[in-house]
């Protein structure tokens, strides 16, 4: 990448003609070594740079996007954005573009990770595969260097280079499967052998799974399960747009106790243990946003458009989403759950005494956003907890839970937290994850049984 993303953004800005203009550039050089049955079957090596121009002309807003950046391509981009704006009706609610502000100094770039080439990506996948033996390994290793830049006619000139890496392994046989992953912005911390071994060890304990009658059970959820459940809950409930459109479970409840006092959740894009970001896709500085503090609902994340619509004094918290997701409103993409006091997951199972143990969840669906009701399946490591210990394996369980109920009575959380990947790598690369501990809950509503562990 000889031209930086910011230089490219400024070049696109120079080609734009309007009252106001904003350019967002995302570039990536990434490698994905996806494997199944212990061999790589879907490698994907990507080189791309995407430029989005948003133009304001006479109160009308239009945008255009391209990945052609040579020759006349940026002038063509400006022409298409101008056409879109000129044919749009005036937008009286457009809040204007962001003004320049100082940005927090965050890490998130590692030279070694940035230099990873196809051979190293293949080797990391191989190390994870080998560690999962004798079970077959399914999963991937991926690493990338990506850049985000925002430049605008109001003087915003923001740039961040990021790296990220994930190893994910399901170790599986016909009758067994176990899951593990590590996400980080430093490949030196991604530990493919540890991930492969953890998945394999978990899998060997899932053979002979039994069914479980539907009902409410106390449960221990590993960070993989809690992180994904909270991320799905967050789309509606921790979003300013969700509050405005009355989809959020926090509607009318800000300031009320909605969870156990042990529960504190923020969106923390600045924590170096996560995947730090300095600014959002409107060039607004990222801020730490309290969402639930000591069980009390505190608020949601906002972008400039929703903050203006709220008309209650809230300001953007720096959570404007990537351009393809703009209609979905501001997004919390760096959820962080405060740690508890349990020294280990074993201590949580002792607190539960009798119940179920969930490694991860699969294929969530939002049944009722206003009540925070999700359904999904457990997968790759579901067990009974008996007499305070993890006991016999269970079939994958269907659950239908209201997240406020899940968080209402929490016997404990672990002292250690794990960064759980939340990127499915659609669209442009933008690493995201949830930083969370394991949790013990008094109520996990099982509504059926499904597939057995294994292939």
């Amino acid at each position: 990448m000889s031209e930086s993303a910011l230089e490219l953004a400024q070049r696109a800005l120079a080609a734009a003609e309007g009252d106001e203009a904003e350019v967002v550039v995302q570039s990536e050089r990434s490698g994905f070594a996806r494997f199944a049955d212990s061999e790589v079957h879907q490698p994907t090596l990507i080189e791309n740079a995407v430029v989005q121009l948003r133009l304001v002309r006479d109160g009308r807003v239009g945008s255009a996007l391209t990945n052609r950046i040579e020759g006349d391509a940026l002038r063509d981009l400006a022409r298409r954005a101008a056409e879109a704006a000129d044919l749009a009706p005036p937008d009286p609610d457009f809040p204007g573009l962001a003004q320049p502000e100082p940005y927090p100094d965050v890490g998130a770039y590692d030279e070694e990770t940035a230099s990873f080439e196809a051979e190293e990506q293949a080797q990391f996948a191989g190390r994870a595969i080998e560690a999962a033996a004798p079970l077959a390994a399914y999963g991937f290793f991926t690493s990338a260097v990506s850049e985000l830049a925002v430049a605008s006619s109001t003087g915003v000139a923001a740039h961040q280079a990021m790296t990220d890496a994930t190893t994910l392994v399901i170790a599986a046989g016909d009758d067994a499967s176990g899951y593990a992953e590590r996400t980080t912005w430093r490949t030196g911390e991604v530990e493919p052998e540890t991930v492969g071994r953890e998945a394999s060890e978990k899998a060997t304990r899932t053979r002979g799974a039994a069914s479980l009658a539907p009902g409410r059970y106390a449960a221990v959820l590993e960070p993989y399960a809690l992180g994904e459940l909270l991320q799905w809950f967050a789309w509606d409930s921790f979003s300013g747009l969700g509050l405005l459109e009355e989809r959020s479970a926090l509607c009318g409840r800000i300031g009320e106790r909605i969870a156990d006092p042990k529960i504190t959740i923020a969106d923390d894009p600045l924590d170096p243990a996560g995947l730090p970001k300095a600014f959002d896709f409107e060039g607004v500085p990222k801020r730490v946003v309290p969402l639930i503090e000591d069980g009390v609902a505190r608020g949601a994340v906002w972008d400039r458009t929703t903050a203006a619509r709220a008309s209650n004094g809230v300001a953007s918290t720096g959570h404007a989403p990537p351009p393809p997701s703009r209609v979905w409103g501001p997004m919390p993409l760096a959820l962080a759950v405060a740690a508890g006091e349990a020294d280990s997951v074993d201590e949580l199972t002792q607190l539960v005494d009798d119940g179920i143990y969930v490694t991860r969840v699969h294929y969530l669906g939002i049944v009722n956003p206003r009540e925070g009701v999700l359904t999904g399946m457990t997968r790759d490591g579901t067990f009974c907890i008996r007499d305070g210990r993890v006991a016999e394996p269970l079939l994958n369980l269907r659950f239908t839970v209201a997240i406020p109920d899940l968080l209402a009575k929490v016997p404990g959380l672990t002292r250690t937290r794990q960064l759980v990947n939340q990127s499915q790598f659609y669209d442009e690369r933008y690493p995201q994850g949830v930083l969370c501990p394991a949790i013990a809950t008094a109520s996990f509503n099982v509504t059926g049984s499904g597939s057995a562990p294994g292939l």
């Binding site: 994905f32 070594a33 494997f35 199944a36 049955d37 212990s38 061999e39 790589v40 079957h41 879907q42 490698p43 994907t44 090596l45 990507i46 080189e47 791309n48 807003v61 255009a64 996007l65 391209t66 990945n67 052609r68 298409r80 954005a81 879109a84 704006a85 044919l87 749009a88 609610d93 196809a118 293949a122 080797q123 996948a125 191989g126 595969i129 080998e130 399914y138 399901i170 459109e245 009355e246 989809r247 699969h362 294929y363 969530l364 669906g365 049944v367 009722n368 956003p369 206003r370 009540e371 359904t375 399946m377 997968r379 499915q424 659609y426 509504t447 059926g448 499904g450 597939s451 292939l455």
Partner: protein
């Protein structure tokens, strides 16, 4: 563009690939969206690049580059080859044969949806929104989309195939809320409306403005409806919900790559095994399912798939028995059955995967929706998906619908809200006891079928008539 594909294929073969193919894809898309009387988004997108796939001693490599240039083509080919040489694993892959072809395919259409002015699109959306205005409706939204994809495929077998795919579509939605209730109605389908491989005439035919008053009224009425009761009963599903049922519980499990486990790490596998072919009873004898990449208007329609295999129509389930899988050249060779034809990639930057094309539940002799309902003493009729979830083997599912009505003594009764139903795939399809007739069969297209790592969005169509199922559990609660 053809010479760039040829350059990439030659570079890969020169670097040691035994097989190589290259795809240049140029996309142009436009989205117009409105919400509550204001323009939400007007966006014009373009994307182009080259993707090169190679097979070296049985190992796959795939690399892509946004530069549709000599340098981009050559570098992508060499990166793909380098990766394949370094890839861990045993590498025993063979591909089903395919004839080398030079061909072209273009979507037949009347009016290019990209030629319709943005102003007209905004006007249509705002008029539809106006029609949805109703007491308690606090969010009204509408959108239209246009999509054109020009792609060129060249393989080391000598194929050179040029295709131009055009899609048009859209949808409208009304959301009503009060206290703790959140109710939504969508038309013509949920989660992104419906699209067709067609011109603007498809959008005009959907008649958003005509449908809007009913959508607004029903969203509002749902706030006063009773919650769907719980129990085991007879369920009649409308064509729209049937398409999701077909997609999730037939389409995905019959993708042969899932059967072989290659999606285990993300979307999951399948309850089907390769040797179930011709033997497994999937459902009742009324169940006939066809994969058809020749369906007029289908989003999964093409001349050739992204491996250069020609479009085809083939049975997946006949009289309730599994008769086919969705295959690639690789999985077909492994199974020893089929010839591929379902490999599709999401643009130039993704490797082709086994994907649904157009998958249909064939019509039956159950007549109209009223006739299906007339034969129900006690049950529910459910319309339009609201939520969906299914397990990793596609067995246990739980789906919610936007609206429903009780059925008593063969007639629709009171409206019910927040309906859910759950089941296990072959048991559920075993309860199929009537499928509506051909005149009630509808085709709709979705653009949000996720699969693969990195993720790929698939564009798929399904056709179905309304259908009736006995002994279904409804009313699952948190």
């Amino acid at each position: 563009m053809r010479h760039l594909c040829e350059l990439a294929v030659d570079a890969a073969v020169g670097a040691g690939a035994q097989y190589a193919d290259a795809r240049i894809v140029v996309r142009r898309a436009q989205l117009v969206a409105t919400k509550n009387g204001q323009v939400e988004e007007i966006r014009d997108l373009e994307s182009e690049g080259i993707g090169v796939r190679v097979l070296v001693d049985g190992a796959w490599g795939f690399a892509c580059d946004r530069r549709a240039s000599d340098g981009g083509a050559r570098e992508a080919a060499l990166r793909a080859t380098r990766f394949a040489k370094a890839a861990p694993g045993r590498h025993r892959r063979s591909l089903a044969p395919v004839e080398a072809t030079s061909a072209e395919y273009r979507t037949p259409l009347e009016r290019d949806p990209l030629s319709v002015s943005i102003a007209d699109k905004v006007d249509l959306c705002l008029r539809a929104e106006e029609g949805m205005k109703h007491a308690d409706v606090n969010v009204r939204s509408a959108f239209v989309r246009a999509h054109r994809e020009h792609k060129l495929f060249v393989s080391s077998l000598g194929s050179a195939i040029e295709q131009e795919i055009v899609e048009a579509g859209g949808g409208i939605e009304a959301i009503a809320t009060s206290d703790a209730l959140f109710q939504v109605r969508s038309y013509p389908s949920a989660h992104g409306g419906s699209s067709s491989q067609a011109g603007w005439e498809y959008v005009e035919g959907l008649d958003f403005v005509g449908a809007a008053p009913r959508v607004g009224e029903q969203a509002s009425a749902l706030l006063r409806a009773d919650e769907c009761p719980a129990g085991t009963t007879t369920v009649v599903l409308d064509s729209d919900q049937m398409m999701l049922q077909v997609h999730e519980s037939i389409g995905h499990p019959t993708e042969l790559d899932r059967v072989y486990g290659t999606e285990a790490a993300y979307a999951g596998t399948s309850f089907l095994k390769a040797d179930d072919l011709g033997a497994l009873r999937y459902g009742s004898e009324l169940m006939n399912v066809t994969a058809d990449s020749t369906t007029p208007g289908g989003l999964g329609t093409f001349g050739f798939d992204d491996e250069g295999v020609p479009a085809r129509r083939e049975p997946i389930v006949e009289a309730g028995v599994l008769r086919g899988f969705l295959t690639s050249r690789e999985t077909a060779a492994k199974l020893g059955h089929g010839a591929g034809g379902s490999m599709r990639a999401d643009g130039w930057s993704r490797m082709p995967l086994v994907r649904m094309t157009n998958l249909h539940l064939e019509p039956g002799d159950g007549g109209s929706l009223d006739e299906l309902i007339a034969d129900v003493d006690d049950g529910v009729y459910l319309e339009t998906n609201k939520s969906w979830s299914i397990d990793d083997k596609r067995l246990n599912f739980q789906f919610g619908t936007q609206i429903g009505w009780e059925i008593k003594d063969g007639k629709l009764g009171r409206m019910v809200r927040d309906a859910t139903y759950t089941g296990v795939t072959p048991v559920f399809w075993g309860g199929l006891d009537a499928v509506g007739g051909r005149e009630h069969w509808q085709l709709k297209g979705l653009t949000n079928c996720g699969k693969g790592q990195p993720g790929q969005d698939g564009h798929v169509s399904h056709g179905s008539s309304p259908a009736r199922f006995r002994n279904v559990q409804i009313g699952v609660k948190a």
